[in-house]
């Protein structure tokens, strides 16, 4: 205790102005850290394993992993060409398209869910066409969960990919063009090898975000165990039914997220070296 007091005194001493940085910084850090500490303290007890491995928890975890993996694959398949075009090609309204791609990142998830519903719901602008032409109705299906996740999470991948592609020296590209490489060859042999780590870390970010998607999903996909009830949904409803399950699932999500973030950090480091 005395030692801490001494430290605080030192920090606050006139000659040292470091407290200007330390106090606000630590306060913010405490805001991040305390809830996580509280979560672990409250959830780690004898019921933890029962709660974490209940059937509902298992179904939710499986669905979350399944949907977020599909989301990430889709983000890579559709997002990479989009990012490439945005960085390397010149076309009209480009800045508006960039803005559109970034929009879902800042949009509240509830807005995302609502717009998805009025666009792809069976009465929606495009959804009614889907229903009448193909007999497909998206809401309340696992496909709706994936669509909501792609909408919310894939812009993160596109963003990373854009940064990655933009970092590549233009001269390299010009040299490849002089050699007679076409767009695809340039992309495959020059851009991809140089950016694969950035792309991978973007994909992991997208995966993490998809795993945590909640607001858009509950509005657009509804809640049914095994079909549309993902981890965050089970946590939200568990909060009302059985707090223990909600806490245990939260711990699992926190651990998975920490692991994924560490992985991205590592990839970023390797890329810099």
């Amino acid at each position: 205790m005395n030692k801490i007091k001494k430290n605080i005194k030192q920090i606050l001493s006139q000659s040292d102005t470091s407290w200007i940085f330390i106090i606000p910084g630590v306060l913010l850090l405490a805001l991040f850290a305390l809830p996580i500490v509280a979560l672990f303290m409250r959830s780690i007890n004898t019921d933890f394993l029962d709660n974490a491995f209940s059937e509902q928890a298992f179904k939710a975890l499986r669905l979350s992993l399944y949907t977020s993996t599909i989301t990430t694959v889709c983000a890579v398949i559709f997002g990479t060409p989009l990012a490439y075009m945005l960085v390397r090609w010149k076309f009209r309204f480009k800045s508006w398209i960039e803005l559109l791609v970034d929009l879902p990142i800042v949009l509240p998830p509830s807005v995302a869910g609502l717009v998805l519903l009025i666009a792809f719901g069976r009465r929606g602008l495009f959804g009614s066409f889907l229903l009448n032409t193909f007999g497909i109705s998206l809401p309340f299906t696992t496909a709706a969960v994936v669509l909501a996740q792609i909408f919310v999470a894939s812009p993160l991948y596109v963003r990373s990919a854009r940064v990655g592609f933009a970092q590549i020296d233009k001269q390299l590209e010009e040299a490849a063009h002089v050699e007679g490489a076409n767009h695809w060859q340039l992309f495959r042999d020059v851009m991809l090898p140089l950016t694969k780590r950035t792309l991978l870390s973007g994909a992991i970010l997208t995966w993490t975000r998809a795993l945590g998607e909640f607001g858009a999903t509950i509005l657009f996909a509804g809640n049914l165990e095994g079909i549309t009830q993902t981890m965050p949904m089970a946590i939200y409803l568990g909060f009302e039914r059985n707090l223990g399950t909600a806490l245990a699932l939260s711990v699992v999500l926190v651990i998975v997220s920490v692991f994924l973030l560490m992985l991205t950090k590592k990839l970023e480091k390797q890329e810099q070296e």
Partner: protein, 261 residues
């Protein structure tokens, strides 16, 4: 860029400036946690209550009763709790959040089936709810109305034949978090049928309804009580008295609720 920023700043200032200035120096806030089904009726009751008490602002937290109960248990500051089921109130009494003598029933409600206005699945009777391929939305089992709906399906099971309930539950595409979410999904036409309270059907007159006969229906009794830790015990009492008064009951009946008895 500078001009753009200053315009945004001006706009923000303008919005703040337009906010109504509070004329009374001391203003108190009464916080009421109420079942989602009470949204329309209590909003009107709250407006009347505030008009009669100029120094009071009543704020509401509408959600599924089970969610409100959890929030209270986790320390959410509330003055009054109005629940759609006795069960949630009893839990709070057991945990001393509500005094047992303070809880009283103030209205009753029953179930009804709602359909989108154009009834896309062609549902004409309760029996049709078991037709394969239709999309039904219920409230989750933890939500009072979701629990009542399943009880009612149990009763239908005995009169429409066994596995009626199973067939209906197999048609359920989503278990929503509160009754208003069920109404919203039907209003949007995303699902073919939902089971809600008659009061919800009154609040959404654009929907088609199918009555559930009394012998198959469940009567939901709503209790109301002040919370023991309320900092506004006098206001809480006054609000509950108003809800129970002839005026308050008239508003509740206008929104499709029945008296408690």
């Amino acid at each position: 860029m500078k001009r753009f920023l200053s315009m945004i700043l001006l706009l923000a200032l303008f919005i703040v400036g337009c906010a109504p200035a509070s004329s009374t120096p001391v203003s108190r806030t009464l916080t009421v946690f109420a079942a989602a089904s009470l949204t329309d009726a209590f909003t009107e009751i709250g407006a009347n209550f505030d008009a009669a008490h100029p120094d009071v602002t009543t704020t509401f937290n509408f959600a599924g009763s089970q969610a409100l109960r959890t929030q209270i248990e986790e320390g959410a500051p509330a003055d009054v709790f109005a629940s759609a089921s006795g069960k949630e109130m009893e839990t709070l009494i057991t945990n001393s959040f509500v005094a047992e003598s303070a809880s009283q029933f103030f209205l009753s409600n029953k179930l009804i089936v709602i359909l989108p206005a154009d009834n896309p699945a062609g549902i004409d009777s309760l029996e049709d709810l078991a037709n394969s391929g239709i999309k039904i939305v219920l409230a989750a089992e933890e939500v009072p109305v979701g629990n009542y709906a399943r009880q009612s399906l149990d009763l239908m099971d005995t009169s429409f034949g066994t596995d009626f309930k199973d067939k209906v539950l197999a048609n359920v595409v989503s278990n929503e978090d509160n009754v208003k979410q069920v109404v919203a999904k039907i209003q949007l036409g995303e699902a073919d049928a939902g089971i809600v309270y008659t009061s919800d059907a009154v609040a959404a007159p654009d929907l088609k309804t199918i009555e559930i006969p009394t012998e198959l229906n469940i009567i939901a009794k709503y209790p109301i009580a002040p919370l023991t830790e309320s900092a506004n015990a006098d206001l809480a009492e006054a609000f509950i008295a108003y809800v129970l008064s002839a005026d308050g009951q008239a508003i509740l009946q206008k929104w499709g609720f029945a008296p408690a008895q």
